[in-house]
Symmetry: C2
Subunit: 221 residues, 2 copies
């Protein structure tokens, strides 16, 4: 077991901070990220900033246009649909694998996370909801045992967040969402891969539909 504690280089911190700033909407999609500006904000040199930006480019959170530099990725609705398509497949797979492989302890943790989510829904605690959702997802992805699925889905979630910064609301859908997650967990507990896959795909499908509606509202607003 490796208990190394790395002093966490300047760049890694920069990447984390920038990613956080982007997914949280502090930097709006389309906004240009001027290197000199980021140097000032982060207190690091241009070389490090550029490397950090390259990493975020790899995560598709930033687009670097030649001779124009970096800006926050703008996600078209068309591309968002494509992402949801892939998510449907991969989250279905992840759920199926989790149903087959999750240990008893992991099932317990999922149950706890889901209860936390339901509590947050009842309390209309938006922040708690996203935290609990993330926790639930982490557990499923850990249980599925496929690091590649994990890695890709993390990336896709971050990218979808680029949309959500504005259409966050939709809290009306939370109860449905809770029911969908519960269905997934039920299938995982029953060790029913096919059912888990179906439930997870349904959940993504619903999320996509909800995003579409939110998008339409935004469009007219």
């Amino acid at each position: 077991m490796d208990l190394r504690v790395t002093p966490l280089g300047v760049q890694s911190q920069a990447v984390d901070k920038l990613r956080e700033a982007i997914v949280s909407g502090h930097f709006q999609p389309g906004q240009r990220l001027v290197e000199a500006e980021l140097c000032r904000l982060l207190g690091i040199s241009r070389g490090s900033v550029r490397e950090a930006l390259r990493r975020l480019e790899g995560e598709r959170l930033v687009v670097i246009t030649p001779n124009r530099g970096p800006s926050v990725t703008e996600l078209s609705w068309e591309e968002a649909v494509q992402i949801y398509d892939v998510r449907r497949l991969l989250e279905g797979e992840a759920a199926a694998l989790a149903a087959r492989r999750a240990t008893a302890a992991q099932r317990e943790e999922m149950e706890a996370a889901l209860e936390a989510f339901e509590a947050a829904v009842a309390a209309e605690d938006a922040l708690g909801r996203v935290g609990a959702t993330a926790c639930f997802y982490d557990l499923v992805l850990a249980a599925c045992g496929n690091a590649v699925v994990d890695e890709i889905l993390r990336g896709l979630h971050a990218r979808i967040n680029l949309l959500r910064s504005r259409s966050m609301s939709r809290q009306g859908r939370a109860p449905e969402s809770a029911r969908e997650l519960r269905a997934i967990l039920a299938a995982i507990r029953d060790r029913a891969p096919a059912a888990a896959r179906k439930a997870a795909m349904l959940h993504v499908q619903a999320a996509c539909a909800a995003a579409k509606e939110a998008m339409a509202e935004r469009r007219v607003a």
Copy 2:
């Protein structure tokens, strides 16, 4: 239509050359990539080399260990299996979408590419085979119309290539492979998404099994 011709900055070229060197096996998996060395080989500055390496890290072709620097990714068999799992899903999806969306012209091109592949198989032209395969894949991915699937699969193919550098042989499987591809194309021509998905998944499954055998041979050798 944008017919801009970009002078193609130093870094982009560096990334391309390094990627080529890696997937072609010129740099072996696990080999360390010393920055100063790459500066000499590429004739560019350290800053540019480092940015190029960051990009390749994003493509998972290079691993950068803190305070040890970059080296060519070593793909474990375990991880390769996970990649094949995802490929099965996504190539199935791509084939299904292509079956639904491909234009007549695209079907013709696929037919041509497949015939080229079969010709290369008959002529035992290994290089021609990989070229024709790549071409066929490009056409299917273009026809499927999902840029996210395209992008992810390209990445996964490159990563699987990290394995193949040694286990390239397996030319005995080429005729089977040709039959599998033909089955995919047949389904696409019939506009039968379900059949196309099934055929594509079968193809990946077979490729995975073949890789496993090649791996086992290597292991004992």
